[in-house]
Amino acid sequence: MSRLLRKREARIPDVCLIVEGAYPYVSGGVSAWAHGLMRRQPDLRFCVVAILPEPPPPERKYGPLPNLEALHHLYLSQTHFRRGWRRPASFDQAAFDKAVNAFLRSGGGLAELAQVERLMRPLVRTRRTADLLDSTLAWNLVCDLYAREMPHESFLHFFWAWRALFGGLVATMSLPLPPARVYHTVSTGYAGLLAARASVETGRPAIITEHGVYTNERRIEILQAEWIVDTLDKGFAIHDPRRDLRDFWTTAFESYARACYEACADVITLHGGNQSAQIMQGASPARMKIIPNGVDYQALSRLPHANPEHPPTIALVGRVVPIKDIKTYVQAVQLLRSQFPELTALVMGPTDEQPDYYEQCKSMVAQLGLSDTLRFTGQVDVTQHFPRIHVNVLTSVSESQPLSVLEAGAAGIPTVATNVGACREMLLGRRDEHPALGAGGIVTDVASPEQTAAAIGELLRDRDRRERLGLVMQQRIKRYYDLPVVDEAYARMYRRYTQAPSQQVA
């Protein structure tokens, strides 16, 4: 290898992190995770592809990192290139039409995507990909697809749905691919599609760490979307073969997910709860892994424990939003107060995200006469409050892997949590936990103030049990959820894949 080539090779970033609609423009959640991951892998060089609907990018919420070498943008509304003089003769419209149909309509996977990529290559090379959206070629494509798919639907809606979906596909397929040794996507969707394309084109490994299940979330969003007009009344017919726009959108996202799962060498989730949905979308069980979110066990475990002689104190750490079901928590506090007149209940988290809901919660507290018992602290440093909290509570109706349970657990505080996301796994242990550590908290049903109140009551009354559960949580977190453990899992995986030889996808 020549010196020049070696030099160029050495400049290639180790990891290309592909993030859709988040990092570095949104704070918290996946953005925080991505920022932390890069910060704690200082020996690796990263680049990020941030996927946004359209320019300009919003204000950055995260500053630069020494090992983040480049931030690329993929705008889904950008058709990329119309600079070439003429459309190459080698572009086969009929074959492309067929391949796109197979990929988008039939829920195709990686082989179908590779075929689309191969047929699109002449246009990418000659910088004529805009033809796929803005030429008579595009028009023929959309008309053919419409005639086959849903000739009974509003053409205006179909056209825009096609343009948004297909535009995103074209933008993703024509983005100049940043070179990297491994492509790491944090979701399926367009990010997953780009990772799949990267693995097809470069032969480098792709991996995915999915925090929720993207396709499910899109499906819910599409079903609830008021901007998709229902022009097809299927009534109660289950087997109506006619497809409408919602089916069109959903199938496309399923295709993207399937291609991504097939392309990724490792399909990682934060907890086992997501895996069945991923398998249904085409992920191979053999490639599945769990790498949870981590917390700083060393710092949190050094916090003093709450004095058992002090008035009983419980806390819910989370944003005051409906998904956290704060109202169930308020009702549970009301049930507890008769048994624990000195009870202090806190809600620690931002209150400004949904002001209406916050107002409803506040008036509920006032109506139930809990103003002296229950307090909304707003956003605070929870570690300052942990030393006086006896029981941590979570009443959410939906979660992925809530950090509050891990943070409280690391501080030796047991949790009463609803059976959502990874809560059961975190509190009672994963099936493969060996040796089993036992319970570190109590799991309740969703929206059951009685069960929540009973569980909290049990822990407040039984000091020994409370301390025992807190200890189990600490042990579990030290073993599985400690940041160095999580970071090492990623470091190991990155080492393996950055050094792996390139492979051509069949």
Partner: protein, 473 residues
């Protein structure tokens, strides 16, 4: 899964389809009407006064009026078309309170331009007296302003007012000029007589526009800036308008400067053999323009709206295509239905040219020019209608290119065929009109045959805006 997921809705927009073009493109066709009426006015004045003595003054007066018409038409065409376009946009977006500002800006621009151009022409190369220069400059500015106001009135489809005020203005002009001439056969007096008529038309039309849009204008700077921006943004329309105006006059200028041109009093040039035959030819095709405007109102707009509203009302592609087909077929049918009888009429006029020449006291040498002129004017009608119809579908560059084709052909062929002799004066115009009409007809046919594609992709403002926005970053 906080952070992930962006609004799909932002990628999914179903607004901004053409439709807004309707009233604008209309103006460019309706504009042909007043031009023809003006020709009628000039002809009437010449006919009335020619009974009187002092033909040189009359010839100079007529030449000056023709100069004013040509100059103001060329100077204001870009402003008039672009301001009609932005007025159309404002109407479409229900921002009607901005319209008086646009009118004022367009009139200011037109007045400044025509006064500058007219002063440069009348005060410098021509040997006019200062009083006549002032009268001629005013005349040119008034014609420019009348032309622009006429376009605004046509955007609001106020045809009755246009016709009434034009007829009234022309009647007053004819009376004013003849009365002035009787008072003293002086060029300035005759021009002021004509100016009174033009002023009547101008204020009548403006009164109608103001009555339709009774909103105060808070400042002139903002509308002037908006119009300047629009001139840059819609440059193909502005340039197309300029080429169109030049194309309409260029054959006359070529002939004036040829050996067939005559220099009369004050250094004015004209070509009596060519000019009167051509103006008479234009009058012959007035019925075609009138019929076409009726077709636009009655049939074309119905089909045009049906097509666009079917899209917005969520029709299927099959239904949309049916409306497109109907729009296509009925437009072509109507064009044929108007052009073919008009061609027959023109052919009859061409055949009876000697009789007509005799009746109108023209020269028999003009028979050939009149014949070619009437047939050419019929094809020019087809060219103007077809090229203007492309504007209804926002084919700005196509419109520009078509106007350029006619301009180049009309100038080039008129010049090249001068050598054939006086009997063939007008052949250049005829050939240019025939070729341009065919090109415009085929272009319109192609536009109509790709209507769905043009509407959804090539001319869809939403698609274009997003592509532009994306390129900006």
């Amino acid at each position: 899964m906080a952070g992930i997921g962006f609004a799909l809705e932002r990628l999914y927009r179903s607004n901004s389809f053409a439709g807004r073009m309707a009233s604008f493109a209309h103006a460019s066709i309706v504009a042909a009407g007043p031009c023809l009426l003006s020709v009628l006015g000039i002809w009437l004045i010449s006919a009335t006064i020619s009974e009187l003595e002092g033909k040189t003054t009359i010839a100079a007066f007529r030449a000056l009026i023709i100069y004013s018409f040509a100059l103001s038409f060329v100077a204001t065409a870009p402003i008039a078309l672009v301001s009609a376009r932005i007025m159309s946009d404002e109407l479409h977006d229900f921002r009607i309170s901005n319209i008086p500002g646009i009118v004022l800006a367009a009139l200011t621009f037109s007045a400044v331009l025509t006064i500058a151009a007219a002063t440069a022409l009348f005060a410098v190369p021509l040997e006019l007296e200062p009083t006549a220069v002032i009268a001629a400059v005013t005349n040119c500015a008034l014609i420019g302003l009348v032309w622009v106001s006429c376009l605004f009135a046509s955007v609001t489809r106020d045809y009755t007012s246009i016709t009434v005020f034009f007829a009234l203005g022309m009647a007053i002009a004819v009376i004013g000029v003849t009365a002035g001439y009787k008072l003293r056969p002086d060029l300035a007096i005759m021009l002021w007589g004509f100016n009174i008529g033009l002023g009547t038309t101008l204020f009548g039309l403006l009164g109608r526009v103001i009555a339709t849009f009774p909103f105060p204008v808070t400042g002139i700077a903002r509308p002037l800036r908006a119009l300047t921006r629009a001139l840059l943004r819609y440059w193909p329309i502005a340039l197309g308008g300029l080429f169109g105006a030049l194309g309409a006059w260029v054959d006359k200028w070529v002939v004036w400067f040829s050996p067939y041109g005559l220099q009369i009093q004050y250094g004015l040039l004209h070509a009596p053999l060519y000019d009167s035959a051509m103006f008479l030819s234009y009058l012959v095709v007035i019925p075609a323009y009138a019929a076409f405007i009726i077709h636009l109102e009655v049939q074309f707009f119905r089909n045009y709206r049906l097509f666009y509203s079917s899209i917005l009302e969520h029709a299927t592609l099959a239904q949309i295509s049916r409306y497109a087909k109907r729009l296509r077929e009925e437009t072509i049918e109507s064009l044929s239905a108007i052009t073919v009888p008009q061609l027959v009429v023109c052919a009859l006029v061409a055949l009876s040219a000697p009789t007509l020449i005799d009746v109108l006291d023209m020269q028999f040498r003009q028979a050939g020019t009149l014949r070619m002129g009437v047939i050419g004017a019929a094809f020019q009608f087809l060219f103007i209608t077809c090229s203007s119809l492309t504007l209804y579908f926002d084919r700005r560059v196509v419109f520009l290119l078509l106007q350029l084709v006619f301009l180049v052909l009309n100038a080039g062929l008129t010049f090249a065929l001068l050598k054939l002799g006086p009997r063939y004066l007008g052949l250049g115009f005829l050939v240019a009109s025939v070729i341009s009409a065919l090109v415009a007809y085929l272009t319109l046919g192609r536009t109509l045959s790709r209507l769905e594609y043009l509407t959804f992709i090539a001319n869809n403002p939403a698609v274009r805006i997003r592509t532009r926005a994306a390129k900006a970053f």
